[in-house]
Amino acid sequence: MGLSSRHSVTLSPRPATRPILSVRDLVVHYHTSRGAVQAVNGVSFDIAEGERLGLVGESGSGKSTIALALLRLIRPPGRIESGEIVLDDVDLLSLDEEEMRQVRLARIALVAQGAMNSLNPVLRVKEQIRDGLHDHAAELSGRAFDDRVYELLHSVGLRRDVADMFPHELSGGMKQRVCMAIAISLRPTLIIADEPTSALDVVVQRQVMDTLLKVQEELGAAIILIGHDMGLMAQVVDRVGIMYAGNLAEVSPVADLFRTPLHPYSDLLIASLPSFEVKGAFQGIPGLPPSLLNRPVGCSFRARCPRAFERCATVEPRLREVQPERLVSCHLY
């Protein structure tokens, strides 16, 4: 299904469509008693219509914070300090709360990690889908509403009798599909999927991912897939952004990234992945990410980088295009 057409997308050069989402110098801090945790530290990226962008990184690298920032759902003590988030020519940071509420679900939808646990246990599936539809002024009367629910369930691969079930009657994979049905109910142009399958078994993950990509393709929506599973990224997305300590270390087309990772962190990360090819040699990345409370001067990966030199200790590298379509923030390039 979805995958064959995806490959044609990756192999041919991407059409030069203008980005539907443009993020510029996004800074998000969490203000704690010990100071500001600089969770996202000036991140910029674009995503084109229908594109699949992956954001990977370790825990604390800022990937989920970006997801929440795009929806403007950062809550105190967190705050978006500066930057621009432009979706379809509208700067989301300039909207008032009510305008932003209309954008959520209608234009940007979120499929969260463990979204299946966000379903209301005492409401039937149908009623949970109704919430979103009604709230966004899509007034549908009885029959038309039911038809829309069945249509949505069908598109995520669920039978129509699921509409009258309660969440506890569904398996984890089915619940995650219900969440997807809700997410796409208003035909968003951007779907943010934050670790949508990390709580599922590998066989179910495969099915749920297929469904997500199928609905994304049908809608023509762009998708930002957030996660730490490089295997999943390799199979699913067109481009990958690698996060490290609140910055993008590298943004590259997926095939290029795996063939020739440019940033030393990408390189080590890919080398540390277990595979069925090599056996018995485990190579991790020595050291730890820096504290985001007092970010070191210079490059944040410097302390763990085997190729660091003097400049890395003093000047923070900026994300630059060093090869066609490949952006890296590293002084080596």
């Binding site: 795996f258 080590l268 990360l269 277990p274 069925f276 018995g280 485990f282 991790g284």
Partner: protein, 347 residues
């Protein structure tokens, strides 16, 4: 030779019974397995949620009692050990749990989890010797003592905490370490380091390891032997290279194909094939995978498949291989390779 630890025809049910005599959930069904003290082996036990892998770990550790069957430590029932034997068991068999955040008491410094076993098992005569031993052990798992000791758990990363757990297990010089999903909550770049320290323990100190996981890739990398579990039963068992490279059980095949490979040129497979026919009648003996199996035959709905020995070092519980000889009894050891580990794994 008496095996170090043995599960003999173990069944574990959860729930059920009561007034309405509801059938319970079968977490583990008629399962037999043993770990010998010599030679040391690394066995991976792989399964999805609900396959019974954690139940197995808990039974082997004596944290849960089997509904039927028995768990034996050096030939003696785990529930009837003498104080002396129990003391020995607690030293011989160590565990590393999944969550490196939950096992620590946040009020104590991490030194506490290392000092306690030293005291309880009188591992060192003086405080200085104890300190020396602890530092030595931390070094062995790749931690720097001055960066770890004297700190509280929240000051360390998940990877460091998990390695302290490995160090704690090592302090007691056990014969067997049962590691239940030791890396599933740790970031990718640290995962490799922890697996490497486990592997080093095996190589340097001749400790057997039961590596319980849902992740076939790491199981393949660290294990010599592998048991693939499905709904409380063994689906396939044998040499890890055979099982992973040429899986025979339809479930193992599906499992391996479903793994997204970290290689964009390697297409993702594992679309679940349409199943062949109906589910078996309730209560009847049948293959547990029959309702998802694309190759299901009539016999699969009427009988539970025994283990067929398809290769010298592999057995498969599937009627597709019914021409192969049955594995006599439930003795998995016949197919598990027991070659000396140091030679088979490149250092």
């Amino acid at each position: 030779m008496t095996p170090l630890l043995e599960a003999r025809n173990v069944t574990k049910l959860f729930g059920g019974g009561g007034i309405r005599k509801k059938p319970g959930t079968v977490a583990l069904h008629d399962f037999s397995f043993r770990v010998d003290a010599e030679p040391p082996t690394i066995t991976a036990i792989v399964g999805e949620s609900g396959s019974g892998k954690t139940t197995l770990a808990r039974l082997l550790l004596g944290l849960a009692a089997p509904t039927s069957g028995e768990v034996l430590y050096r030939g003696k029932d785990l529930r009837q050990l003498t104080t002396e034997d129990r003391h020995r068991f607690l030293r011989d068999v160590q565990v590393i749990f999944q969550d490196p955040y939950e096992v620590y008491n946040p009020f104590y410094k991490v030194d506490h989890v290392l000092e306690t076993p030293v005291k309880k098992f009188h591992l060192a005569p003086t405080r200085e010797k104890a300190r020396e031993l602890i530092e030595e052990t931390l070094n062995a798992v790749g931690l720097r003592p001055d960066e770890t000791l004297g700190r509280h758990p929240h000051q360390l990363s998940g990877g460091q905490r998990q390695r302290i757990m490995v160090a704690r297990a090592l302090l007691l010089q056990p014969r067997l370490i049962i590691a239940d999903e030791p890396v599933s909550m740790v970031d990718a770049s640290l995962r490799a380091t922890i697996l490497e320290s486990l592997r080093q323990l095996h190589l340097k100190f001749s400790i057997s390891i039961l590596y319980i996981t849902h992740d076939l890739t790491t199981a393949y990398q660290i294990g010599q032997n592998i048991l693939v579990m499905y709904r409380g039963e063994v689906a396939e068992v044998g040499d890890v290279d055979l099982v992973v490279k040429q899986p025979r059980h339809p479930y193992t095949q599906l499992l391996i194909q479903s793994i997204p490979q970290a290689d964009p040129t390697h297409p993702w497979q594992g679309h679940e094939l349409p199943t062949n026919g109906s589910a078996p009648a309730a209560g009847a003996a049948h293959c547990t995978f029959v309702d998802r199996c694309p190759y299901a035959m009539d016999i699969c709905r009427r009988q539970t498949p025994p283990l067929f020995r398809t290769d010298e070092h592999r057995a498969v519980a599937c009627f597709l291989y019914k021409e192969s000889p049955r594995l006599a009894g439930t003795d998995l050891e016949q197919v598990l390779a027991t070659a000396a580990p140091a030679e088979t794994i490149p250092a």
